[in-house]
Amino acid sequence: MMDVTVFLQIAWSSIAGSSFYVLVAVAFALYLKVTTYWNFAQAAQIGIAFYLLYALVRVLAWPAWAALGATFVVVAGFGLALEAWGMRVLRRRNSPHLTYFIFTFMVAQFAGFLLMLLGGTEPRSLVASLFMPGFLVAGVSVTAWDVEAIIVTLVLLGGIALLLSGTAAGERILAVSDNRQLAEFYGISAERTYMLASIVCAVPIVAGVWLFGTRTTFLPTTGLDLLLIATVATILGGVGSVIGAGVAALALGLMRGFSVFVVPSIWENALVYFALVLAVVFLPRGFGGLWTSLLARRRAARMSQAAATARASEAA
């Protein structure tokens, strides 16, 4: 029914096409892990990154590296400003989680409107033509963009993993995300660590936007759409697991790629959103959590069986 080449082609394109989802999901999950907040303001960062890249690359014709560097500085600066004048104030006030949601969500919406004002509502892309010539590898068409996307994603994920596990800064980030009080007791400033995390998050965001913008078109509302997929991935991957979020984003990309065989494409988005609801209800701790709770349940069943036999023998 589906021959191997078609299967490989879809798998390859969806893996490459998942790259920006993976990067955005990693940024979202990392911020969540460190601060415990769902930072929807990252949608604003995504939007700013895109329109700035657009202005620098397409209008001012800067070289890509310079544009990416400048965009990173602006996006990271925006993240820092948000921490210093937004999140930190709310934390000082001991605000309930609802307030952080409203704040980050309103920032995302505000940025969406601002970018609509500045950039208009027509779809834009970072390259003049989205047509990409491919070369055939074992019957599968591979484009330069595919290769770039996969390499960039792997390099950045590796870099983040190295940063977290192999450097003093990463140690601080992990310490604060494990136990903020304890980390502060040992002299690590949580606020400074949050700032550091928001700088780190800017890297995959800018890279993800670059890949997105060189493959397809962007609208002022795209930032929130990307972030919603990141949210689904974060939940499916298990809150607290950055790698889990990345893997889940990849799985979502593959699922969307292959879903064309199962459901008409107009239902693709609905499927993702339903997956979100179901994930929250049935798998609030992701697939990793599912595994642990299955183990716990098996153990519980054994225990209660043992208790029942004990009671029976006691009665006899």
């Binding site: 716990a296 153990r299 519980a300 225990m303 209660s304 043992a306 208790a307 009671r311």
Partner: protein, 258 residues
């Protein structure tokens, strides 16, 4: 004598982990009618967790809770309370937005105001039922000597007074099991006498009372039996003199290691 008393609440192999922390480790215990069971152990031993597992605020990883022979392990916290598991909290947890009397009024095994019909229509029967609830709440406040504070906000009370109100709130539930988490901590000596009298009285009425307490001097007078907890385990169980006389347990309690 202990053997004559019926076990009202039985715990079988309760287990609970919080990440790497084992807060309950194969806990098996029983509470008997008319008896005060004392629970002691160092900070973080899992005493409060034991209460949370009994009342269902947190789900156990394994094991079961049997109330009068019935397995209630799968029931939600509110169902267990309605079956007569009444408790206080270590940090009281009164509702700060409500008056003292209002804190009590809705803490019985049933609460007529909770029904959705009552929410929308407030039928006359509700008013009668509520008047009865209010009388019960006033009586409970009277018992702990806090009647003069009925209309006050929780924030206006001292910590010791809040503990008394917390006890009164637990007394609104007249079920067979009463769980008290450090009832005497932060209470002045005069009110401690009131508390102890109430604990004795409730046990004499045939309830199974379980008291967590760091004040061992008081607890040895109150409790007929004691459990020593450490690292989520029931390390030892027996008459107070035996528990308190065991040098190993004393070392754990004061030294913090086994």
């Amino acid at each position: 004598m202990a053997a004559e008393r019926a076990a009202i609440l039985r715990l079988e192999g309760l287990e609970k982990r919080f990440g790497g922390v084992v807060a309950a480790d194969r806990l098996s215990l029983s509470l008997r009618a008319g008896e005060v069971l004392g629970v002691v152990g160092p900070n973080g031993a899992g005493k409060s967790t034991l209460f949370n597992l009994i009342c269902g605020s947190i789900p156990a990883d394994a094991g079961s809770v049997l109330l009068e022979g019935r397995d209630i392990s799968r029931l939600a916290a509110h169902r267990r309370a309605r079956l007569g598991i009444s408790r206080t909290w270590q940090h009281v947890r009164l509702f700060p937005s409500l008056s003292v009397l209002d804190n009590l009024v809705m803490s019985g095994q049933s609460y007529p105001g909770e029904s959705l019909l009552a929410a929308l229509f407030r039928p006359p029967a509700l008013r009668r039922a509520m008047a009865q609830m209010t009388r019960a709440a006033e009586a409970a406040l009277e018992a702990v000597g806090m009647s003069h504070r009925a209309g006050h906000r929780v924030a206006e009370l001292s910590y010791g007074q809040q503990k008394l109100v917390g006890l009164a709130r637990a007394l609104m539930n007249e079920g067979p099991v009463l769980l008290l988490d450090e009832p005497l901590a932060g209470v002045d000596p005069r009110n401690q006498i009131t508390m102890r009298a109430i604990i004795d009285r409730e046990a004499a009425r045939g309830r199974a009372v379980c008291v967590i307490e760091h004040n061992i001097g008081v607890l040895r007078e109150l409790a007929a039996r004691m459990v020593f907890m450490f690292a989520g385990r029931a390390e030892a169980e027996g008459p107070p003199a035996a528990i308190l006389g065991d040098p190993r347990l004393r070392r754990i309690y004061f030294g913090g290691t086994a």
